[in-house]
Amino acid sequence: MAKFFLTLCLLATALTGHAREAPLAAQDPALEARMVQIASELRCLVCQNQTIADSHAALAVDLRNQVLEQLKQGRTDSQIIDYMTARYGDFVLYRPPLKAVTYVLWFGPGVLLLASLAILFVVLRRRSRMAPEAFDPDEPDGLAPDAHLR
């Protein structure tokens, strides 16, 4: 199943590799621009690394039309995003929302970076306070093969 979709996506990419934009669906350029802006925030679930703005999958076309239709009805961007997440979950959002289950995702890398900087700082400070005798003296290469035993 997954392989089938992958093949389909690859085929679609190969056939449309000439940077052809997805066909316009609206006559009104302003509305079209808003539609594309919302659609580029949404993940296409068939070809998962594409937004529904640049995917050619049939579902992406349907969802773009859905966005357009709702814009014409005067719904706000956030109402439309809510409509999509109610059906497809937070996974459709390219920018995951900040909430309890995504704290690790949002803050994990920063916490890891700070933790490793703190460890580096502690190690370097400890070493700077050690007496010079605690370190192996510099030896020319090739000499004192038993140096590591000391």
């Binding site: 199943m1 997954a2 089938f4 979709f5 679930l45 068939v46 998962q48 049939a58 579902l59 349907d62 969802l63 859905q66 997440t85 109610a86 059906r87 497809y88 979950g89 937070d90 996974f91």
Partner: protein, 176 residues
């Protein structure tokens, strides 16, 4: 202390391998549905075999039922179909089909040729009901309880394991 220098990186490495091993087994195509334990989306569609007869969400309240999303153009649906036909013969629960973005003649030809496991198929020509159900990869299978709450979703073709390990126990639990 001396060994720690060697064991610590090894432990970190093994931890990383563990995460990667789990990550390899996860299927990114299996997106968890936000519909689970939520009321099933409302719908009102005509039957595939009878354009004059409409089936609504409310008509199905009071029974545990299965919704199987299919289409005549869907290759994986054919793969799943014999299993579904066999499952339907055991009459564990009513099975409703959602004929997704198909045409009536093609859909009818398909069930006539490969067998009809469905109590009825709902005809969703433009895929709007499919979107409401969060359908993105046909076939998909849902189980809805008596109160009209979605209790289970499977993406992709059903397998004997899924039916045995997930669907049968759930039907027993919901009917029990």
């Amino acid at each position: 202390m001396r060994y720690l220098k060697f064991l610590l990186p090894l432990a970190v490495f093994l931890g990383l391998v563990g995460f990667l091993a789990v990550g390899l087994k996860l299927d990114p195509k299996e997106v968890p549905s936000p519909l689970i334990d939520k009321p099933a989306p409302s719908f009102s569609l005509t039957r595939l075999d009878n354009a004059a007869q409409t089936i609504k969400r409310e008509d199905l309240l009071g029974k545990v039922w299965m919704l199987n999303v299919w289409a005549s153009w869907c290759v994986a649906c054919r793969e799943e179909h014999p299993l579904l036909v066999e499952f339907s013969q055991r009459k564990l629960l009513p099975i409703y089909g959602l004929n997704y973005k198909d045409t009536r003649p093609e859909g009818l030809k398909w069930v006539a040729r490969f067998g009809n496991p469905y109590d009825a198929s709902l005809f969703d020509q433009d895929g709007r009901v499919g979107i409401d159900w969060g359908v993105y990869g046909v076939p998909e299978t849902f189980i809805v309880d008596r109160q009209g709450v979605v209790r289970f979703k499977h993406i992709g073709p059903l397998t004997p394991e899924v039916i045995r390990a997930r669907i049968e126990p759930l039907i027993r639990q919901l009917n029990g």
